[in-house]
């Protein structure tokens, strides 16, 4: 059995392979709407952020917001996609009260971003999810069913809000991989600043196309889970859906193509509409909008002005700091984390130690206290000082954790003061250490004999004894060296 097949079989669920593709609606951070000058701000009184264009009044016409195009270009560059020289806005026609024109302006045949890929690590393994496209489109308004007896209220504040819909190939093979993809995508769009990433407010909404199949079989029929707006629900919804589909197939039922919604209260997905009710959207190029032409100079100007992308920064961390790829990927989860790491690395001159501490102790404490790195209780300079003390052998790693704890809880702000106060300084005086080792050797003559007879395992026991005798304040490497010297 080849390595690849082995990996694949690892991921099978009850003998089925999971296939997932994503469509993500990211709300762009423009001040005004995609085709009108109304504000995009969230939470205003109903219908106050809507213009003649958004109300679809007779005679109103759409005019493209260049800022939205700018953001689409930035995304395309961030994922190594092709920025179309000319893309086309189309009308997707259907009737719904919160769709004021009776059609949504979207891109259909020719999207603004074509191809590209999102790369990330899952359990240390590098994954690549290919993108089909990313296209600009306008959001619909909202139907308000509460507060109106026997009536529905319509709020068009959201109507016309610019979205970039990002569509993947069906490249994901587990629900965990799909969630990791979504997190990575979230990281990219927030990193480059085209989306605020606020999932509660609907700024980042995922639709998951889920199907299952026996390995080697053609793609199964997919069901689309709509509007997943938290990573937790995303995982739950897809896990439920995968189990449900496998049960159906095992029970001899064919999967019907459908759109489903996840109900967080029941933890189940339920069908909204089946393929039979699928509307004919009568797409055609919007005659109100000429093709969106993007000159190469615009693309190159954008490329030149974009801040360092996470994957570029990660590559730099590998090249400049000698970090493993995994570390570099973790440290570039957010701009703030990367900046924090770089500050620690620069001040301590110990990038690997800095990486270990940022990814390890610091991340652990941030998570358990539900804090963002921007509001970390331990500053990058404090952590750098701490790392310096590890590197210059003033304290051991385990002692350093006690220092970190004291910094975190605010016991003190000065690393050296904590070391002194807690007496955590390593025994660096070799004379003092030699005395202790002599005592250990005398008390363990039998071990010494065994080592001399060639049993290297006995050495570890002696190191342990010596460390115990120094209450952990000795440097294990130094102890090891002294022991070897003395045993000869």
């Amino acid at each position: 059995m080849s390595q690849a097949t082995h990996v694949l079989l690892d991921k099978l669920v009850n003998g089925y392979e999971v296939v997932i593709g994503f469509e993500t609606h990211t709300q762009l951070t423009t001040q005004s709407k995609l085709f009108s000058r109304a504000s995009t701000s969230f939470g205003a009184e109903p219908n106050t952020n809507a213009s003649a264009v958004d109300f679809a009044l007779p005679g109103a016409l759409p005019v493209m917001n260049k800022g939205a195009v700018q953001r689409a270009i930035e995304f395309g560059l961030a994922v190594n996609g092709h920025i179309a020289e000319s893309s086309v806005f189309a009308r997707k026609n259907y009737f719904y009260p919160d769709l004021p024109k009776g059609y949504q302006i979207s891109q259909f045949e020719i999207p603004v971003v074509q191809g590209g890929a999102v790369e990330f690590f899952l359990e240390g393994e590098k994954k690549t999810v290919r993108l089909v496209r990313a296209h600009l489109e306008e959001d619909a308004g909202k139907s308000l069913h509460e507060d109106f007896a026997d009536m529905t209220g319509i709020d068009l504040n959201r109507a016309g809000t610019p979205l970039l819909e990002i569509v993947t190939e069906p490249d994901m093979r587990s629900t965990a991989e799909a969630v990791a993809y979504a997190k990575e995508l979230h990281k990219i769009v927030t990193w480059i600043g085209i989306c605020d990433g606020n999932m509660q407010e609907g700024s980042f909404r995922c639709d998951a196309n889920v199907s299952v199949r026996k390995p080697g079989q053609p793609l199964g029929t997919r069901r689309e889970i709509k509007n997943l707006n938290s990573f937790k629900f995303m995982q739950q919804a897809m896990d439920y859906e995968v189990r449900w589909q496998i049960e159906q197939i095992e029970d001899g039922h064919a999967i019907q193509q459908a759109t489903v919604l996840f109900d967080p209260d029941t933890g189940e997905t339920r069908s909204m509409r089946s393929k039979e009710d699928a509307a004919d959207y009568r797409y055609f190029p919007d005659p109100d909008l000429p093709p969106l032409v993007i000159g190469r100079d615009w693309v190159e100007k954008t490329r030149a002005e974009m801040s360092e992308l996470p994957r570029v920064m990660a590559a730099r961390f590998v090249a400049d700091y000698g970090l493993p790829e995994y570390d570099a990927g973790q440290l570039t989860q957010s701009k703030a984390m990367a900046a924090y790491f770089e500050a620690v690395a620069a001040a301590s001159k110990q990038p690997k130690l800095a990486s270990n501490w940022v990814m390890g102790e610091l991340s652990k404490r941030l998570n358990s206290d539900e804090k963002a790195i921007e509001s970390s209780a331990v500053s990058s300079l404090q952590l750098a000082r701490l790392i310096e003390r590890i590197a210059d052998s003033t304290i051991s790693n385990s002692a350093a954790k006690q220092v970190f704890d004291a910094l975190w809880t605010g016991e003190s702000t000065d690393v050296d003061a904590i070391i002194d106060a807690k007496g955590l300084k390593q025994i660096s005086d070799s004379g003092e250490l030699e005395k202790i080792i002599d005592t250990v050797l005398a008390a363990n003559a039998k071990n010494v004999e065994e080592i001399r007879a060639g049993n290297t395992k006995a050495m570890n026991a002696l190191v342990g004894q010596a460390m115990k005798a120094t209450q952990g304040k000795a440097n294990p490497a130094q102890v090891n060296a002294l022991l070897k010297k003395k045993i000869g």
């Binding site: 003649a52 109300f55 679809a56 009044l57 007779p58 005679g59 109103a60 016409l61 759409p62 005019v63 493209m64 009308r91 026609n93 009737f95 009260p97 004021p100 024109k101 009776g102 059609y103 319509i154 004919d280 009568r282 797409y283 055609f284 919007d286 005659p287 109100d288 909008l289 000429p290």
Partner: protein
């Protein structure tokens, strides 16, 4: 000494001169036209508000008194009811928009207001500009002042009837497949549809977005030139299809030519060097003999002015009918989706659920022709039919545009009839929509190509009804068209003829 002409017989140019000279005030002129409109029997107007019009006239008089002398200051006009207006209701000739009041003015409306023109009201038209006889108005048909039993043409039928009957010195119109040129032709007035994108579409109730274009309708090319100079120009912040070309003064050269003409040294052949192309497809058996006769004698006049006539070929002319009647309804079906009874416009009084509300509101709100085009448009855009109809039509549309470019290598202007017949009787074609569609044969191809075209009065045909000569120019050549029409109008007086029902 002849008696001075009535105010309503004056051209826009002459009215403007009288206003500028202080011979008459804008309030007087406006009141004069309002009085005429009050007793009109042509069904030309859908909305009037004397207080609004007179207030605008007063404002113009203030500007005049302050010494402002701009070419249109204080001159009244009326707008086709397809342009949204703050001051008058806008219905687009449809029950769907009965009493609809727009919170903003169309760009064309506000530009003409800025130029100091006074709005007399809103003019009847076919519902959503769909029709060629004004019989599709949901309110009442407009009548042809040359024979009130006949249609004035459409869809800008109210505009044409009102200008011809001297109820307004000028009017705005919109042309999607001939809706300025054909009614101008059938009522003996002058109208120009500029190059697609020349006038902003912002505030025009959309029929077919890739074809809709605003233009002026008046009695002469010179008056049209004055109006178009004020209407045209880029509006890039509001209409993405607006041409990014600066506004042009179309009138100055024409006024200079007029002055020259009345001088001693007028050239005998002012149009020497102008090549007029005659597409054989425009002069075939489909065109009524009386129309052909008038068109040919107009062309003979052009030869006298120094122009040369050349034969050109527009082989796909016949296909322009099916192509247009796929593309225009396709766009219309989508453009009219916003009329759903949710936010404004007609909503059925009783309904059981959302779908029922849509169905009833739209069935009640739209007339037969709008319904027909929505259905055709929905069909041709449907999955499985899109390629065979819409996409194919778009491809042929491109070929039609290319044919024109080939023809324009041999000529400067293309000429022919506007309509294959003179105005027909009200009700005559009502039961046969296809007959109406076929009558658009000479105007559709240039609309599909986005070219400027105009109708110039060229005599009379059967029943003493007016016949128009169509002039089609290449892109952005409005000035050339207006110049050629102006030269013709300086040696003919067809455009000065008054219909019987005008007084």
């Amino acid at each position: 000494m002849s008696t001075p002409p009535d105010l309503h017989d004056l051209s826009v140019v002459d009215l403007a001169a009288k206003l500028a000279a202080g011979d008459v005030s804008s309030v007087e002129v406006t009141q004069h036209f309002l009085n005429r409109i009050k007793s009109e029997q042509l069904g030309a107007f859908l909305a009037l508000d004397a207080d609004v019009s007179l207030a605008q006239a007063k404002a113009a008089d203030v500007r005049l008194a302050a010494g402002e002398r701009t070419p249109l200051l204080g001159v009244p006009l009326a707008h086709k009811d397809v342009f949204v207006t703050r001051d008058f209701a806008t219905t687009a000739g449809s029950k769907m928009l009965a009493n609809y009041r727009s919170p903003f003015d169309a760009t064309v409306v506000s530009k003409l207001a800025q130029a100091g023109m006074v709005s007399l009201g809103k003019l009847n038209c076919d519902e959503f500009a769909m029709g060629s006889g004004n019989e599709n108005s949901a309110y009442f048909p407009a009548k042809n002042p040359w024979d009130t039993r006949r249609i004035p043409g459409g869809s800008s039928g109210g505009s044409a009837a009102a200008v011809a009957a001297r109820l307004t010195p000028a009017a705005t119109g919109t042309d999607t497949g001939g809706s300025i040129r054909q009614p101008a032709s059938l009522t003996g007035i002058t109208g120009i549809k500029p190059t697609y994108g020349r006038c902003s579409r912002y505030g025009m109730v959309a029929f077919a977005s890739s074809l809709d274009q605003a233009g002026p309708m008046a009695r002469s090319a010179l008056d049209c030139a004055l109006l178009l100079s004020a209407m045209a120009g880029p509006d890039l912040d509001r209409d993405s299809t607006s041409l990014d070309m600066p506004a042009v003064d179309y009138a100055t050269d024409l006024i200079a030519a007029r002055a020259y003409k009345t001088g001693d040294s007028a050239p005998k052949h002012p149009l020497k060097g102008l090549r007029i192309g005659l597409p054989k497809q425009f002069f075939g058996a489909g065109c009524a003999p009386d129309v052909l006769l008038a068109v040919r004698s107009a062309l003979a006049e052009y030869e006298k002015l120094g122009a040369t006539l050349v034969d050109v070929d527009l082989p796909l002319t016949e296909l322009s009918i099916p192509v247009y009647y796929v593309i225009a309804p396709a766009e219309a079906s989508s453009n009219l989706s916003r009329f759903d009874g949710v936010r404004y416009g007609h909503r059925a009084a009783h309904y059981t659920d959302l779908n029922d509300m849509y169905k009833k509101s739209r069935s009640e709100g739209f007339g037969d022709e709008a319904t027909r085009r929505i259905m055709i448009g929905t069909y041709v855009l449907s999955h499985g039919y899109y390629d065979a109809y819409y996409l194919k039509a778009q491809k042929i549309r491109r070929l039609i545009a290319q044919d024109f470019q080939t023809a324009f290598t041999q000529c400067d202007i293309i000429a022919g009839p506007v309509s294959p017949t003179v105005a027909w009787k009200i009700g005559e074609n009502k039961a046969d929509p296809v007959a109406n569609y076929l009558a658009d044969i000479y105007t559709l191809s240039s609309s599909l190509a986005g070219l400027p075209g105009m109708s110039v009065p060229a005599g009379f045909g059967e029943g003493g009804m007016p016949v128009g000569l169509q002039l089609i120019g290449n892109y952005f050549k409005e000035a050339q068209l207006l110049g050629a029409a102006h030269q013709y109008q300086m040696v003919t007086d067809w455009h000065d003829k008054k219909p019987g029902a005008s007084s």
